[in-house]
Amino acid sequence: MTDPTTAAPGTPGTPDAPGTPAAPGTPDERGHLDALRSRLAGSAAEAGVLDVAWTAVDSPVGRLLLAATEVGLVRVAFEGEGHDSVLDRLAATVSPRVLRAPARLDVVARELDEYFDGRRRSFDLPLDRRLSRSFQLAVLEHLPEIPYGATASYAAVAAAAGSPRAVRAVGTACATNPLPLVVPCHRVVRSDGTAGSYRGGPRAKALLIDLEATS
């Protein structure tokens, strides 16, 4: 653990606020700025100029970054991916109009809570698929067909996507799924039964398979 009081300005982020330097100013000013930032997020959304809203939530697979455009959920990222660099890439590829704005992610956070509690088997959320290109999109769109609690092999998914020989490409498509958990790439495993690679790491993948098998 690092001691936040010794962090120099510009030190990249606590999990709570990725990439934000230790803010200067008195505690009073900092608290006040937090309130002003929330108000800004609200008025920016209302004005239609909040292109990427994000928040971070705790989960059994670690802290998750959730980001949504006006279209829908655009990115779910695990802590190991570096929330700060994920947000930087969103700013570069989607829009630099990025603000922390938990309100747009309220429903996503609630559905994820229900999922981790074993009370939800599928997600009912508007998704923004712009980070996936043709083949990956074709693969990922088949994944919700794998029932909750079941798994499918990379080869089976390749066949379902109409490219039975593209097993390796399916592996890549799943390993770089921009919407893990919500688009269930964790249900795709190797033909020999081992888990295969996962953005959130092998332990997270095993935890999810186990959660679904026992809920």
Binding site: G19, H32, G48, L87, A91, S95, R97, V98
Partner: protein, 181 residues
């Protein structure tokens, strides 16, 4: 282009202190919010080499003046001459009018920067010129060409927000015979 949440993080305190230096706390909050909302709208069009803090401080000073002027208007005694309704702040119009915002986004880069900087962020043509590294005349011309392009893009039938403001204009054409709305 820097993420806007970082811009707020890095410069929020400076802007708050600028606003508080000229306004009481609640009004300072309004000016702070107006400043960052205008900056957020302008952000994708802002040239990479802009001195962001100087630009924000300039916008904040303008917004603080707007807030104070707004109070002066409200403080007028009722027996003074009736004033026409205050024009809506350009950023309020732009923020609520998707059609206009879309047209602004479609402007060529130079015009968009000039229109957003001058009409939205409230900078003078000189300040837009300094911030973007063009001449004063070029900034003025780009803003004027941009507004003309917006008028053309938004067509002869005025958008609702525009018609609202034109409703009381003396030059409005007479209603057609038959009185269709």
């Amino acid at each position: 282009m820097e993420r806007f949440d970082r811009v707020v993080e890095q410069h929020g305190l400076t802007v708050l202190r600028v606003c508080r230096s000229v306004l009481p706390p609640a009004d300072a909050d309004d000016a702070w919010s107006e400043t960052f909302l205008a900056a957020l709208v302008a952000w994708p069009a802002l040239p990479e080499d802009t001195d962001v803090e100087a630009w924000l401080v300039t916008v904040a000073r303008r917004k603080a003046i707007d807030v104070r002027r707004g109070q002066a208007r409200r403080a007028l005694p009722v027996e003074t001459l009736p004033e026409p309704p205050a024009p809506r702040a350009f950023d309020e119009v732009i923020a609520r009018d998707d059609e206009l915002l879309g047209a602004v986004r479609d402007l060529p880069h130079r015009q968009r920067v000039a229109v957003v900087g001058h009409h939205l962020a409230g900078l003078s043509h000189r300040e837009v010129a300094d911030a973007t590294g063009v001449s004063h005349d070029a900034a003025r011309r780009a803003a004027s060409d941009g507004v003309a392009a917006l008028r053309r893009a938004l067509g002869p039938s005025p958008a609702p927000t525009v018609s609202e403001r034109r409703a009381s204009a003396p030059a409005s054409p007479p209603p057609r015979p038959g009185g269709t709305p």
